[in-house]
């Protein structure tokens, strides 16, 4: 048994290493367009994972995610910039994330007591009030035109196109450099979110979603856990906001509207509520789709190139139709989203490969939290 687990662990480690290496390759082969897609997807994935924890795992609907992205983005810009305290940028990143968490904490009197879909309406307030503040607090936010974002420097290395840098014969501009930053932050997100989901707090949150009563009599402090889920989700949103700000190099209020919140909700619904991998897949889908459609508009049927005659279906609109419809279809026909589809496909494949013998392996969907000890992986 322990041999099997060890074999499994090393196999998992090998898979992890392969994925990590593959993710490091794009900057050497792809141009800035694709790197930007990747970068925005990574930022979105970080935010989506946070929302998945809150809405998917804890069952608390939030339409206020854009607000916390804004707190992270503007928080970083203000903390590291002028006007602002002008702190070292490396310090401004964690502080901006903490600011987002603090903002989530300040909302906890509502987030701890208002539950489920009702919280969705309460959080609408955050988006609208936040947008109003971004427009009016000009000395901090720069008002309607926003502010430019100071590039991040880590120990003398700056994530922008400034000084010439060539790695393995490839010139490293801002996109190439930020790619690795995004990758590191995304890895951190993946690591921490999976850790949370598979341990005591994650189980408590899932219990809250499935039955508040059962959770309470099992000793879960309902209000405290609801608030904590909100704070954690805000911190991931803040981190995503920082990365987005660095990638855009400018923050403007209109980006952080209700539409952005709805985008994040679309990501986690399409990906499959409550799983880190699903949220990531959904984030890539929702982020990359409009960008890809814009790029290939002239080759797509029914889609007009951007800026063509009024009333034609532009690529942004086409993308919105697609993922609006995707939300409806996913929820009606595949409630566990992309993640569930992938899992079912994998199970079907595996079942075809390995005739089941042991009764415990006849289980159609292996439980995600027990992945390390999954008996099915190793059936010869």
């Amino acid at each position: 048994m322990s041999d099997r687990i060890r074999a499994l662990l090393t196999r998992r480690r090998a898979t992890l290493l392969t994925v990590a290496v593959l993710l490091c390759l794009p900057p050497f082969y792809l141009d800035a367009f694709w790197l930007r897609i990747g970068l925005f997807s990574m930022a979105a994935a970080i935010g989506a994972v946070g929302l998945a924890l809150l809405s998917g795992t804890a069952g608390q609907l939030s339409l206020g995610h854009a607000f916390f992205l804004a707190v992270g983005a503007y928080g970083y810009t203000w903390l590291a910039g002028d006007p602002g305290p002008g702190l070292p940028t490396a310090l401004a990143v964690p502080l901006a994330v903490l600011m987002a968490g603090l903002a989530g904490g300040l909302f906890s009197p509502v987030a701890g007591r208002v539950k489920g879909i009702y919280l969705g309406i309460a959080t609408l307030a955050l988006v609208f009030l936040g947008h109003h503040v971004l427009l009016t607090a000009e000395s901090v936010t720069g008002g309607f035109n926003g502010r430019s974002v100071p590039p991040l420097s880590l120990g003398g290395f700056t994530f922008d196109a400034g000084d010439e840098l060539t790695v393995l014969g490839v010139p490293f501009g801002a996109e190439e450099r930020l790619w690795f930053l995004g990758l590191a932050l995304f890895a951190l997100t993946w690591f921490t979110a999976r850790g949370l989901l598979r341990s005591r707090p994650g189980r408590a949150l899932a219990a809250l979603r499935d039955s508040e009563t059962a959770a309470a009599v099992m000793g879960v402090d309902v209000a405290r856990h609801r608030s904590a889920a909100f704070v954690v989700s805000s911190m991931y949103a803040g981190l995503a906001g920082v990365l987005l700000a660095l990638a855009f190099r400018r923050v403007v209020p209109d980006y952080f509207g209700l539409v952005l919140s709805v985008d994040y909700l679309a990501m986690i619904v399409i990906g499959g509520l409550g799983s880190v991998a699903g949220a990531t897949a959904g984030a890539v889908f929702v982020t990359a789709l409009p960008l890809l459609m814009t790029r290939y508009a002239d080759q797509l049927p029914l889609v007009a190139a951007p800026g063509s005659a009024e009333g034609a279906v532009g690529p942004t609109e086409a993308a919105r139709y697609l993922y609006g419809a995707a939300i409806v279809l996913v929820l009606l026909y595949a409630p566990d989203g992309l993640h569930g589809l992938a899992r079912r496909a994998r199970d079907r494949l595996r079942r075809r490969r390995t005739p089941t013998t042991d009764p415990t392996t006849a289980v159609p969907s292996p439980p995600p939290p027990a992945a390390a000890a999954r008996p099915k992986e190793h059936t010869p």
Partner: protein, 298 residues
Amino acid sequence: MTDLLDSLLGGLALGAVYALVALGFVVIFKASGVLNFAHGSLLLFGGYLVAVLHDDLGFAGALALAVIVTAALAGAMDRFLLQRGGHDAHSAHVQTIVTIGIDIVLLTELARRIGGDLLTLGDPWGDAVTELGPVTVADSRLAAIAVSAVVITGVFALFRFTPWGLSLRAAAEDMEAAALMGVHLGRVRAGAWCLAGALAALAAVFLAAFPAPGLERTTGQIALNAFPAAILGGLASPTGALAGSLVIGLTEALVVGYQSELHVLGEGFGDVAPYAVMLLVLLVRPNGLFGAKGAARV
């Protein structure tokens, strides 16, 4: 003093229109447990129909058709997309998110058609005003108050005196028991959605009428302001929604009216005042002003 009266009348008119929208939220919520996030685009859809039809059919004809078609669209949405999910609490949550998906599609389509235009609805009031003692009021506002009062009275009569209203109230109490007692939940729901759609289309006319410049693609977003109104009322209470709408309408109008005294809050605070009020109320009463705390259910 005149300023105050001005603001109060404006707030009353706005509150009356919000009440049409908020009643829609409440009716849908009572019948199906769903929060309809597509309500804004339904409203915009109704307004858009009036805008494109009034040249041919005249205002009254266009409005009548728009009300009917919007009601049908809302009913069809519920019947063909939402009701597939079932009638329990969990599916109501899923269906709420489905309405967000529907909203994305519908809103994108309408925004694409409207573009950056301001559409006129050809309403009979135009920019006419009436002198009421010391204050001057736009006729459209008086019409909004009068029409809303009549329609809302009608809706309350529906609740109270028709078999449908009785079924709706029974379903809101306890869906299972209602179903066992022979209430056809599907039909009650469809009726509620149609009613809500009709109310939304009607509200669109007043939201786009003078002194508003016309129907824009963002008009639907104003409908979202009725969410705070419905929440203040506790979501399941039509009377509460009515009261909540008036509170929200008056707050918004007063904030706009006293903009200069409230400049600390920033320009345009009136637009977001409903949400500030909602947050304050939720802090004190998480279940809304009129909402009762639900008994713990397993």
